[in-house]
């Protein structure tokens, strides 16, 4: 088909028409999506006095798992211990954990409404599944590492800190873009 030929010629099909041909309805205008996201973030500020986040849910989950396997290890680990606290509340009863569960539900809802839910692996047509998944795992590891070192990820720091004019968050944002652009060239193979 024309769309497949196009993908062989150019590594990154860009137009929404291709997306539509492949699966579901076109994505929402990015500016409108941004306004929607911004209002959700504002709601978090007004209702909770905090912003969004995601990496904290991963640390809480890991802390819970480590605590379940070996409480002494968890309590002794300076990074994980605060997620356990004094044990009076379950580590998974954390704001970010519930928020991330909501992210799952909200994304699923949006996907279902737009017919964009399907079991697939996002990759270029000439890349193996194993190769893509290997890169995904490696990228995730780097992301996990970087996010905890930086005390946040794009949702927690870039969006939240950005909106609150947090100086460190803005420096963080610049670094994220710098790091990504620097390495992008060597990752093109995933999308060929």
């Amino acid at each position: 088909m024309a769309s497949t030929m196009h993908e062989a010629v150019r590594p990154l099909p860009r137009s929404d028409a291709v997306v539509q041909a492949v699966v579901g309805r076109p994505y929402l205008n990015p500016y409108l999506a941004g306004i929607g996201l911004g209002l959700i973030l504002l709601a978090a500020f007004v209702v909770m006095g905090r912003g969004l986040g995601a990496s904290g849910a991963f640390s809480a989950t890991v802390a819970w798992a480590v605590d379940a396997a070996s409480p002494e290890r968890a309590a002794g680990n300076e990074f994980l211990a605060p997620y356990i606290g004094d044990g009076s509340t379950h580590p998974l009863k954390a704001w970010l954990v519930f928020e991330v569960i909501g992210v799952f539900a909200g994304a699923l809802l949006s996907g279902l409404l737009a017919g964009r839910v399907r079991w697939t692996v996002e990759k270029g047509p000439r890349v193996s599944v194993a190769g893509r998944l290997g890169a995904a795992f490696a990228g995730g590891m780097l992301m996990g590492f970087g996010a905890h070192l930086a005390r946040g990820c794009t949702s927690g720091q870039a969006l939240t800190g950005g909106a609150l004019l947090n100086a460190g968050a803005w420096a963080f944002m610049l670094s994220v873009f710098a790091g990504a652009y620097a390495v992008a060239h060597w990752m093109r193979w995933q999308w060929r």
């Binding site: 306004i35 905090r50 970010l96 991330v100 992210v103 539900a105 949006s110 995730g140 590492f145």
Partner: protein, 199 residues
């Protein structure tokens, strides 16, 4: 005028209810992430190949929207900005962590939030990415004794750009709006160039 927001900080509801709030806010968050197409690694990394700058557009529109909202609500005395949590600045780990995070973003194609949106819509690479984050978290936790020096280095406390630059809050807000609008215009030029190259 009685300031009562942030509601939670003024005790209008308790911890249990806040978890429900978290879930609802998360739904909104995930909904708009997927709406924007950020459940797709392809769409996300297109930003870094300069073919589709939706990441920049969505992120900065969200930032500007929330920033203006906060500014006006605080100005009207409806929101106590001093009670909104600000992650304390630590220059070195935030910059270094940001670089690593940026690399992880473009290697794997997601970030923590978008990986959840991705796996929710059936993408195996999103799921694997999320598992990778878990592994990275475990690694970080157990390497923490070596990293703690860096983790706590160069603290500056909760610091805003207006404080750092010694400018009034509103001036920085206006500057951010201008920068974002200039960026959006630039993005449209870059995308136009990219589509001309394809055509």
């Amino acid at each position: 005028m009685e300031m009562t927001a942030p509601f939670y900080k003024y005790g209008l509801f308790g911890d249990e209810a806040s978890l429900l709030v978290a879930f609802l806010i998360g739904i909104g968050f995930g909904f708009f992430l997927e709406r924007a197409g950020f459940g797709s690694a392809r769409k996300l990394v297109a930003q870094f190949y300069l073919t589709d700058l939706a990441v920049f557009k969505v992120m900065f529109t969200a930032i500007v929207t929330a920033m203006l909202g906060v500014t006006y609500l605080a100005w009207m005395g409806l929101l106590d900005l001093s009670l909104v949590y600000l992650v304390p600045t630590h220059w070195a780990p935030q910059i270094l962590g940001g670089l690593v995070l940026g690399v992880g973003f473009v290697v794997g194609g997601y970030c923590p939030g978008t990986s959840v949106a991705s796996l929710a819509t059936g993408r195996l690479d999103g799921l694997v990415y999320a598992l990778g984050i878990g592994a990275g978290t475990v690694g970080f936790a157990f390497l923490f004794p070596l990293l703690r020096g860096l983790y706590y280095a160069t603290p500056a406390g909760p610091l805003t750009l207006p404080q750092l630059l010694h400018l009034p809050y509103g001036v920085v807000v206006f500057a951010v709006v201008l920068m974002a609008l200039a960026g959006f215009y630039g993005a449209s030029l870059i995308e136009a160039r990219a589509s001309r190259k394809e055509g």
